[in-house]
């Protein structure tokens, strides 16, 4: 915002309501999937040590170097693709794991901001609006 405005505010442009960013590529799709709970944010504490089971989980995490070998469509390994498949399944689309047009269109439909999947309240930084701890 400019430090000075003319007194009659004529230089202030009231922004017309802006358009929501459309989901067009993998990055925006990934944001969409993590916002609505299809991709779960990784919580390091939880990974290092799961108190309730007393078992260290780090063997679950595939590790950076393993990711590099993952191909598009190879759903068994990529969190993104398995999240995509999840989304396609609940949206009644054909479950391909591919970021195709039908999936893109479904992601761009008007929708509710509450996540689709249970979210873990460990993500305090940006809690979804539905966690009771907000109260």
């Amino acid at each position: 915002e400019k430090l000075f405005h003319s007194r009659d505010h004529s230089d202030l442009e009231i922004p017309s309501s802006h358009q929501a960013e459309l989901i067009t590529d993998k990055d925006t799709a990934e944001l969409f999937l993590s916002r609505y709970g299809f991709i779960r944010p990784v919580n390091w504490e939880e990974l290092q040590f799961d108190q309730s089971t007393g078992i260290s989980n780090d063997e679950d995490f595939p590790g950076e170097e393993d990711l590099s070998g993952i191909q598009e469509g190879d759903s068994s390994l990529s969190p993104f693709i398995s999240a995509l498949r999840d989304f396609q399944m609940v949206s009644g689309l054909s479950v391909t794991g591919l970021f195709d047009d039908a999936t893109k269109a479904a992601m761009n439909k008007p929708r509710c901001g509450v996540p689709d999947k249970e979210t873990d309240d460990a993500t305090e930084e940006s809690p979804p609006p539905t966690t009771a701890t907000d109260r």
Partner: protein, 443 residues
Amino acid sequence: PHRSTLTTTATDRPHQHQNRVASLLSKRRQKRHVGRRAWGNMAFSKMVLKWRLIGEGYSSQLTIQDQRHIISLAFRMWSEVSPLEFIEDTSSPLADVDIKLGFGTGRHLGCNQKFDGTGREFAHAWFLGDIHFDDDEHFTAPNTGSGISLLKVAVHEIGHVLGLPHIYRTGSIMQPSYLPQESGFEINWMDRKSIQHLYGGCKGQFNTVFDWIRKERTQYGEVVIRFNTYFMRDGWYWLYENRTNRTRYGDPVALQVGWHGIPPDGVDASVHVWNRNTDAVYFFKGTQYWRYDDDNDQVFTVDPEGHLYPRLISEGFPGVPSPIDTAFYDRRDYHIYFFKGTYVYVFDVTANRVSPGFPRKITAVFPAVVSGDHPGGSIDAAYFSYTHNAVFLFKDTQFWKVVGRSRDRWRRPALPRNGLLPHRKVEEQWFDICNVHPSALKV
């Protein structure tokens, strides 16, 4: 600071809510999930909830009156299918309001979840708390056929506040994506079960239950006989659609809206005497009774026989005491059965007198099939159902079915005549007969 009221207040009360919610959760937690919160298992612990559309958060697209009316209707729709009642409270301290709603764009109302502008996200909600609508969306009133229906979005978000997650079933109001509004959308059967899973079903006593029969002409001039089932409780009533096993959408309705001239605060009984010679609907209340004029949809002041209404029951039905508890007309033996206390008076309509030998004990005329399983007396409602071709006696939230004269006794000849089969809960046979808060009756 005002603008932040919406959210900070909500956080001000964590402990109070947490206690209530925690108690619920701790019980459930032991049963199902240890260490993880189970979606769909948390609920308000009180049945009457206050809501308010926050003044700073009015939409710029609809009149304030429209916004409040639509949101009030959305709350009422949930009330019609659950024991919850909602009151719009525009005066209590904000901290006492359970559900606060508001419109905003982008960064709004002190919320940590920024809206994304026109398109995609149209609203979000918090468990047991607040609802925000994205005013960059084109919200419209119901049935305008364009834009995003505010009613539909409001019903969806209130579902979240009440504890429901997103549900992917076709036809569910809790689907995450907005589907253009079909005309007359309603909360379907499965969504009703979901909310009743959290808050239980609707229970309550009835003043009377009756089938109202009428003759109609089809477009081909044929006379057909139709009937509707009505449940009455205090000053309001429900039409029960037997085919779809639910009440009519939008019920209950105030008595004076649908039955003109009968006592607006409720009746004791309704009897439809219907045989070859007589077709008369009567309503009983206290010491008087009224006759209803189907054709003019109001009570008679003078009926075709010249009787002035309301009339004393003792005049029209000599030998019958008043007030009565309830009554029903049995087409099979052309008698009206009047109930008062622990006695039943069988009135012979043709002879216009109480049949010899009556009054008798209800337990004698309607003996219990299972010993001890009997309402005893003070029956709330006695109902001859054309759908079930059976008589039911209602008391509190239970009913007893009278042994059918043909089918039941053919199958089990040892059953006593007019015996009462073991009781069941009313809400297990007639579903979703739910109160709404009186303030929502006019919505």
